[in-house]
């Protein structure tokens, strides 16, 4: 930075922004930060920027700060205009508060890093053995799990024979043959139940009834019988159609 031929007393790259520079200038007043003269501070800053401008491309934020401080200075010097808010005194106070805070944190940081630090001033054990926790599974199972598992395997793998039990049904063919034989012997209307076998009970009776009904419908379709029913769920009557009688 200092390799430029012009005389350069201040190095802008050394400052971390305008606030940093202002704090350094405030410290130059050699008074408590609380008693610094904002006016003197502004003058110093503007002079610095003037000096630096000749040789360096000044960062925008330095120029913005310079403009703001020039405004602040003029406001502080001129008779106060109560219309202007915030007042120049307030602006000066805020700048003051900011510098105090930055200064406080800078000192706090310096005190922090000068403490007894691990690895610089105090040391942890050089070669700790280390603690290791080995996780070990504690397997759990109950006797019931064991025997029921065996039951499942046995049930799954032993040969299985399927025997389909004889079920009491009357096939449609049987019903067709029976109804067409019996209806020929009947002269008049007969309820469909009279065509069922006398010994038909339970499931077989239901099956026989269903098959006989289907048989009756089939015979009616073939024009061999006629059907009659007064109302839904009323008894269903069936009668043979005698050739030539219709």
């Amino acid at each position: 930075m200092t390799d430029t031929p012009e005389t350069l007393t201040l190095d802008i790259e050394g400052w971390e922004g305008p606030l940093d520079l202002l704090l350094a200038l405030a410290r130059n007043q050699k008074v408590d930060l609380k008693q610094i003269s904002i006016l003197a501070l502004v003058d110093q800053y503007l002079r610095f920027v003037e000096d630096a401008k000749a040789t360096l491309e000044l960062a925008a934020d330095y120029l913005v700060m310079a403009a703001w401080l020039a405004y602040l200075k003029s406001a502080l010097l001129l008779p106060r205009d109560p219309e202007i808010e915030p007042s120049p005194e307030e602006l000066a106070l805020r700048l003051h508060l900011r510098l105090e805070r930055l200064s406080a944190m800078r000192e706090a940081g310096a005190r922090l890093v000068s403490r007894d630090r691990v690895g610089r001033d105090v040391f942890l054990r050089g070669a700790p053995e280390g603690l290791r926790t080995m996780r070990k599974a504690l397997w759990q199972a109950e006797i019931y799990d064991l025997i029921s598992a065996y039951g499942v395997i046995t049930a799954r793998t032993r040969p299985v024979m399927h025997i389909v039990a004889q079920r009491p049904v009357m096939t449609l063919e049987a019903a067709l043959a029976r109804v067409s034989r019996l209806v020929g012997a009947q002269i008049d209307w007969s309820v469909i139940e009279t065509f069922l076998p006398d010994d038909a009970n339970g499931l077989f009776r239901k099956s026989a009834l269903a098959s006989s009904f289907l048989a009756a419908l089939e015979l009616a379709k073939q024009g061999k019988v006629e059907l009659r029913q007064q109302s839904p769920f009323a008894p269903l009557y069936i009668r043979a159609i005698v050739a030539g009688a219709a």
């Binding site: 054990r125 926790t133 599974a137 199972a141 006797i143």
Partner: protein, 191 residues
């Protein structure tokens, strides 16, 4: 104990922070030439009976955790875990048919078993290798252990319920078969 003097404290700190055991000479050089032997003797006495001890190995000194505390450095933490379906089935087959080879277990189970399943059962201490079957390939045989009997509260393998008992208990009912098969398929996937 009496407060340690500056040399004792320095030797103590240097040995504590050292990454390797140090000779008395190395410590002395480090401390600018003071005599350290009395300090080492003093430290050894100070730490006798504590959780840390100062030991000498050859001509080098170092601190280490007391040897009777070594078990604290590696600690096993036991976590209860439930045996997988594949695990429990494999165990059941071995228990009912032992000794059994892996191929026999698979034939009975009707599903392959992964290496991990047998490992888990061995880790649990419930099965053990029990010689080899004298057939081509000499496959390893597995049998249950005394721990197995203890864990499941059995006096002997003869205490395991027989097939008739299982049937009476409804454990062979084929009704559940479809459902169980589904579960087995899932368990197999997990292997």
């Amino acid at each position: 104990m009496t407060p340690p003097d500056a040399t004792v404290r320095a030797v103590e700190a240097v040995l504590f922070a050292a990454t390797e055991p140090m000779t008395a000479d190395a410590i002395r050089t480090h401390l600018g030439g003071v005599e350290v032997k009395p300090a080492l003797a003093r430290l050894q006495a100070d730490y006798a009976g504590r959780g840390i001890e100062l030991v000498r190995r050859g001509d080098r000194w170092h601190f280490q955790t007391a040897s009777d505390m070594a078990h604290l450095l590696r600690r096993t933490h036991e976590e209860p875990r439930k045996l997988s379906r594949a695990g429990i089935e494999t165990l059941a087959i071995i228990a009912y048919h032992e000794p059994a080879t892996r191929a026999e277990i698979e034939a009975i189970r009707g599903v392959q078993i992964s290496k991990g399943t047998l490992d888990v059962l061995m880790e649990a201490g419930w099965i053990r290798p029990a010689g080899r079957r004298e057939v081509p390939g000499r496959p390893l045989l597995y049998a249950t252990t005394a721990e197995f009997l203890a864990h499941f509260g059995l006096a002997s393998r003869r205490d395991l319920p027989g097939l008739e008992d299982l049937k009476a208990a409804g454990l062979l009912d084929p009704i559940d078969l479809a459902f169980e098969t589904m579960e087995v398929a899932n368990a197999y996937d997990e292997d």
